[in-house]
């Protein structure tokens, strides 16, 4: 049931104002990028983008398009602030995280502008909670400059094929090595842990692979501790696209279908590990 917000004081306009019938559409996506405490939110007419970064090597973005919201209005061209993602998630799930069918938490979000806190009005079963979360100066974000023209290799997979692999990654290995090639082994994930090395090979004609566009053999290593959090996004998604550019930067894009069947995206960008030694094949 749509929640009717307290009317804003007359004459006041919010820089950002949005309503969502089911707060889970937002909270589940934010959880998929919650590997650091703080996030940078960017609201534009197209929707909301929440960015989390770590170690200047990895960046995750959660996109919730304006169409997902029942109401979404941004006054200026864009509104940007830094906020505690942990606190935001705690507030969004204040009525509990279990999803009983038929019940959902309705959300109204309001942000006055620079220096003001983010206000959340959450309602479930007639009970209303009001949260005010302080905002901070937004950080400068990394720009991976990853556009489709620079992509060297691209594979689109059904997430089902990778889920178990990521969940069972040998965490005693410092790196996750990704090989993509027009020739064998086509697509290989490797770890080098205490017990020895492990390789997971996907043939290009596997039923799991929906699209295979590899032009060059590339082998890149990424710090496994940075990529492990992407397992959450993988678990939610139905499809994942894996792309690398000439420098070995990695882009993982996850297509996520929410409870109402709407599509949202989460993406992870990661820099290759600098200390590259001869890969063990």
């Amino acid at each position: 049931m749509p929640f009717s917000a307290q009317p804003p004081a007359s004459g006041e306009r919010y820089a950002l104002s949005a309503s969502l019938d089911n707060a889970r559409h937002l909270s589940s996506l934010l959880r998929a990028v919650h590997f650091q405490d703080h996030a940078t939110c960017l609201a534009t007419a197209s929707g909301l983008r929440v960015t989390v970064e770590d170690a200047k090597c990895i960046q995750a973005n959660a996109f919730i398009q304006a169409e997902i919201f029942q109401e979404f209005s941004v006054q200026e061209e864009s509104v940007m602030f830094r906020i505690s993602l942990s606190v935001l998630l705690d507030c969004l799930t204040i009525f509990g995280t279990s999803s009983l069918p038929g019940t959902s938490t309705a959300l109204r979000m309001c942000y006055h502008g620079y220096g003001y806190p983010l206000m959340l009005f959450l309602e479930e079963g007639g009970v209303v909670t009001v949260c005010k979360i302080n905002t901070q100066e937004p950080d400068e974000l990394l720009d991976f400059d990853f556009c489709s023209t620079k992509v060297v290799n691209k594979i689109i997979l059904q997430s089902e094929g990778l889920r178990e692999a990521f969940a069972e990654l040998d965490m005693t290995s410092e790196v996750l090595q990704i090989t993509m090639s027009p020739d064998k082994p086509y697509f290989r994930l490797s770890t080098f842990g205490n017990a020895g090395s492990a390789h997971l090979d996907y043939p290009r004609d596997s039923d799991l692979i929906e699209a295979f566009h590899c032009t060059q053999t590339q082998t890149n290593r990424y710090k496994i501790s940075l990529l492990k959090p992407s397992t959450k996004a993988l678990a939610l998604s139905c499809k994942v696209s894996i792309r690398t550019d000439a420098q070995g930067f990695l882009s993982l894009q996850y297509m996520i279908r929410n409870e109402d069947g709407q599509i949202c995206f989460v993406e992870y960008y990661c820099c290759p590990d600098e200390n590259i030694t001869e890969a063990e094949l």
Binding site: A195, S197, D201, Y202, P203, L208
Partner: protein, 315 residues
């Protein structure tokens, strides 16, 4: 095997692949021999004139880590390839999974000496063979934390199992559990009367679960206290041995009734209610000989001296 030791010994032989383990105190040894017929393909390699067939050991945890989730393995893995590459110093395990996916694990190994316990089932005076289920149902009465159990043969042909109580244990805080199995529970019984052995139950439980799961009868070969007890499982393609050290009589002296106050009931007579093949008597330890307290939960009929009072006899 992981219940026995931390290292898995692999020995390919002409008669099959042998997987073995030993515990740190060298008091338990187990080996599983998979005949060539167990595999779709078995090539043990060839021994040269001066060299033996290659053998190695790997960390148990590393090996088990590859077969982490059995239910999902059963659903997704079609075939498993095991390759021993001495020159590359690697044991390769390759799982061929659904959707054409291949998982290859290259495990580091250590060369090792042949691991073999010294035992000879022919030299054992006693032998029992029972379906694993019977033994599993008997053992379930003992707490999981119980270290040692005593297996004994009683006059009257019954086989008893009792938890072993340390000499130092305080009698008033100890619970003794003893149960008897009738001869006809076993597939075969060839035992020296009045014999008993005490061995580690924990190490035995691992083999018992395996036997139950594979529905194989378990044979127990034993001799005097102090000589190892050997448990074997036999199948057309699998031969399993578990060898456990047993307490020698010197160590198990405290088992005798007089010293620790545990009353040892004689095996009940055969006219005990016929609808129970085997049964359990749980009792508190107490002073005094055969006049042990009645179990509060089970009606008990114990052969008593002639001066017993009628009302103490319950059916």
């Amino acid at each position: 095997l992981s219940r026995i030791g931390d290292e898995l010994y692999l020995e390919p032989t002409e008669s099959g692949l042998s997987l073995r383990a030993v515990n740190s105190s060298r008091s338990a040894f187990a080996s599983f021999l998979f005949a060539p017929l167990f595999f779709q393909l078995y090539e043990p390699g060839s021994a040269g004139p001066d060299t033996e067939l290659f053998r190695c050991k790997v960390h148990m945890k590393s090996f088990l880590g590859i077969f982490r989730s059995l239910p999902s393995l059963e659903k997704s893995v079609g075939k498993c390839l095991i390759l021993l590459k001495p020159r590359a110093n690697r044991l390769v395990l390759q799982l061929h999974c659904k959707y054409g996916v291949t998982k290859t694990h290259n495990l580091a190994f250590q060369e090792c000496e042949r691991l073999q316990a010294v035992f000879d089932t022919q030299r054992c005076a006693s032998r029992l063979c029972a379906p694993a289920r019977v033994l599993a149902e008997a053992v379930v009465h003992f707490p999981l934390t119980l270290a040692e159990v005593t297996l004994g043969t009683c006059p009257g042909g019954k086989i008893s199992l009792r938890n072993y109580v340390e000499e130092e244990a305080e009698p008033s805080k100890t619970m003794v559990t003893e149960l008897w199995l009738a001869e006809d529970e076993f597939q075969s019984v060839a035992v020296a009367p009045g014999s008993h052995i005490t061995f580690c139950l924990k190490e035995f439980r691992g083999l018992l679960s395996f036997a139950e799961a594979s529905n194989l009868p378990l044979t127990i070969h034993f001799d005097e206290p102090g000589r190892p007890v050997i448990f074997t499982l036999d199948d057309t393609v699998l031969e399993v041995h578990l060898v456990l050290a047993t307490l020698s009589d010197l160590e198990s002296n405290s088992q005798s009734p007089s010293t620790n106050g545990v009353s040892h009931l004689p095996a009940p007579s055969d006219d005990f209610p016929d609808d129970l093949e085997s049964y359990m008597v749980a009792m508190e330890t107490s002073e005094g000989g055969l006049e042990g307290p009645h179990s509060p939960t089970f009606p008990l009929r114990i052969p008593r001296p002639a001066d017993c009072e009628p009302e103490e006899e319950e059916e």
